[in-house]
């Protein structure tokens, strides 16, 4: 078995550069020969260990309880298609050692990173073998039921990282503003998988949104997901040429649900999957509310952010179990 340890960003880039339109959501992918396959688990339950290290305000046992709840939340939104099992406490660090481990680590060099996820996968199949998560203990943490400012909520951040562990990339459903210190502050967001967390004390990210559920359903593609949801496919173009990296959202006025994806090829192709049957308003906007490097390897691809947001000119009908015809969202330069 060929194993490789991959950093999250590198895996996203592999998908972004070569993923065909079937990659409906920004999910993790790995190159297998000439193909890119979705990175996912194929054996369940996922057995995981928790580091036996306490941090101020959170014991190892409390961390385990929060992590178990976060796993259970993802399991419930997939209808049980994914599952996890606590295997015990460990003194090992959450690093690639053949065992999936979650725990606290002090990473002063990553002073803007609350948590991170790494993977070991079978590069012949894309099957995940191990994934490790650390929550950065240079920050203050809490497991308080209703949140405890100025501490970050363990369950919320664990849920985001476990989303990665299960194969999800980042969502761009959020608006931010640049603070004086150069950091981005969240004005609003609608996805657990948005790369920037709510302020300390907030617990909104304990609850997956429609965007997160669509992404997870797309990866584990259960029968009910295929039967009950549909998709919109098309291109984002500027003067007839495709745009790479445009953020495309579908809004259903009757449910209020908002789901996003990206144009992932040079010709601007995108697929919005996991949509409930209904009529959608489709909008494309530049990826300007987070560092594009949170989504793509900007050393190797150019994300075009020099265009004005625009709507597709018609309502788009999405049937359950099917797709819309191809649409073209035409945008104009800023």
């Amino acid at each position: 078995m060929t194993r490789r340890r991959l950093a999250l960003v590198a895996v996203i880039v592999a998908a972004a550069l070569t993923a065909p339109a079937v990659h409906a959501y920004l999910k993790l992918g790995a190159r297998v020969g000439s193909r890119v396959v979705a990175v996912k688990w194929s054996r369940f339950p996922i057995r995981y260990f928790i580091t036996n290290r306490d941090v101020p305000g959170v014991s190892a046992a409390q961390l385990q309880t929060s992590v178990a709840r976060a796993f259970a939340t993802w399991a419930s939104v997939t209808g049980g298609a994914v599952s996890a099992e606590f295997a015990g406490f460990t003194s090992a660090e959450p690093v690639g050692d053949g065992v999936t481990t979650l725990g606290f680590r002090a990473r002063a060099d990553m002073d803007r990173t609350l948590g991170a996820t790494t993977f070991v996968l079978d590069t012949t199949t894309g099957e995940l073998i191990e994934s490790d998560i650390f929550l950065n203990s240079i920050f203050d943490w809490s497991i308080a039921e209703t949140g405890q400012a100025p501490r970050f909520d363990v369950e919320s951040i664990a849920e985001h990282e476990i989303g990665h562990l299960l194969g999800l990339g980042h969502s761009a459903l959020g608006e931010t503003e640049l603070a004086e210190n150069g950091r981005r502050a969240v004005l609003g967001k609608r996805a657990v998988m948005f790369p920037i967390a709510y302020p300390a004390g907030n617990i909104e990210d304990r609850t997956p949104e429609a965007d997160d559920i669509a992404g997870m359903g797309d990866i584990y593609n259960t029968t009910s997901f295929q039967r009950d949801t549909g998709s919109i496919s098309g291109r984002v173009t500027l003067n007839g040429a495709g745009i790479f990296g445009a953020h495309v959202t579908g809004f259903n006025p009757s449910t209020g649900e908002l789901i996003g994806t990206f144009s992932l090829t040079a010709d601007g192709s995108f697929v919005l999957a996991g949509l409930k049957a209904g009529l959608y308003v489709v909008r494309a906007e530049p990826l300007d509310d987070a560092d594009p490097g949170s989504f793509f390897d900007t050393d190797n691809v150019v994300v075009n952010v020099n265009f004005k947001p625009a709507y597709y000119s018609k309502l788009v009908a999405v049937p359950a179990g099917g797709g819309s015809g191809a649409i073209e969202v035409k945008v104009s330069a800023k």
Binding site: E175, R190, F251, S254, L315
Partner: protein, 231 residues
């Protein structure tokens, strides 16, 4: 029912009331219509009033839990036109059971506005077709040998289609209203013994089907006018 719908309903009622009822008198309907076993067929053009689906915002959630609107939408189903076909079976002199099949074509409309990044507002549309099958009771309130005033109410099943037929939703449809029938021929010799015009106004209640709003039940005014005949 919103203000526009009420106005349309009043107009419909006015239209019905202005049809030729001047000859109304307290005489029973003609013998051929009083046997209790009359079968009439009606083909009519149907006009449906608009439906306001209201507004909906594409919201993000601020850190304090309040919504941050990315953009707003305001949606409606425009007025539609279609065809009705009725088969009426006389149960008694005044009471008829009626089966109705109808088809109508409409336009779904959504206006976007208030974009957080100043995207130009836009009017988005999509065509919608509706097929329905209903069973109704039709009660003759007042009749002369030439004309009759009736009330009708019933319910049935509907199917709405959009996206060139790819999106399909079923629902329940009901109607309450009234109208007039005016006979050109009534009990005449020959194969076509009855021929006349029929017009009616009604309130249509729909539940489920394709929608752009949160409300599952909508009420709209409708009217139809056509010819009926019997053998």
């Amino acid at each position: 029912m919103n203000r526009r719908a009420v106005a349309a309903a009043v107009l419909t009622a006015g239209f019905v009331a202005m049809l030729p009822l001047v000859a109304l008198a307290q005489t029973p309907p003609a013998a051929r219509r009083s046997t209790g076993h009359v079968i009439d067929y009606t083909v009519a053009v149907q006009f449906d009033g608009p439906t306001d689906f209201g507004s909906a915002d594409a919201n993000l959630l601020r850190p304090n839990g309040t919504p941050l609107s990315v953009f707003s939408t305001n949606s409606s189903l425009g007025p539609g036109i279609g065809l009705d076909a009725h088969v009426s079976f006389g149960l008694t002199r005044r009471l008829f059971a009626e089966a109705t099949g109808a088809w109508g074509r409409f336009q779904l409309r959504t206006h976007t506005s208030g974009d957080v990044e100043n995207a130009d507002p836009l009017r988005l549309t999509e065509d919608l077709s509706r097929f329905s099958v209903e069973g109704s009771g039709l009660w003759m309130l007042w009749a002369t040998p030439r004309a009759a005033l009736f009330a009708r109410g019933g319910a049935g099943w509907m199917r709405e289609l959009a996206g060139a037929g790819t999106l399909m939703e079923d629902g329940v449809i009901g109607n309450v209203g009234g109208g007039v029938k005016y006979w050109w021929k009534n009990g005449a010799p020959g194969r076509l013994s009855r021929l006349g015009v029929r017009a009616e106004g009604r309130v249509v209640i729909r539940s489920n089907g394709i929608t752009l709003g949160e409300q599952r039940t909508r009420v709209t005014p409708a009217a139809s006018a056509g010819i009926f005949f019997g053998f």
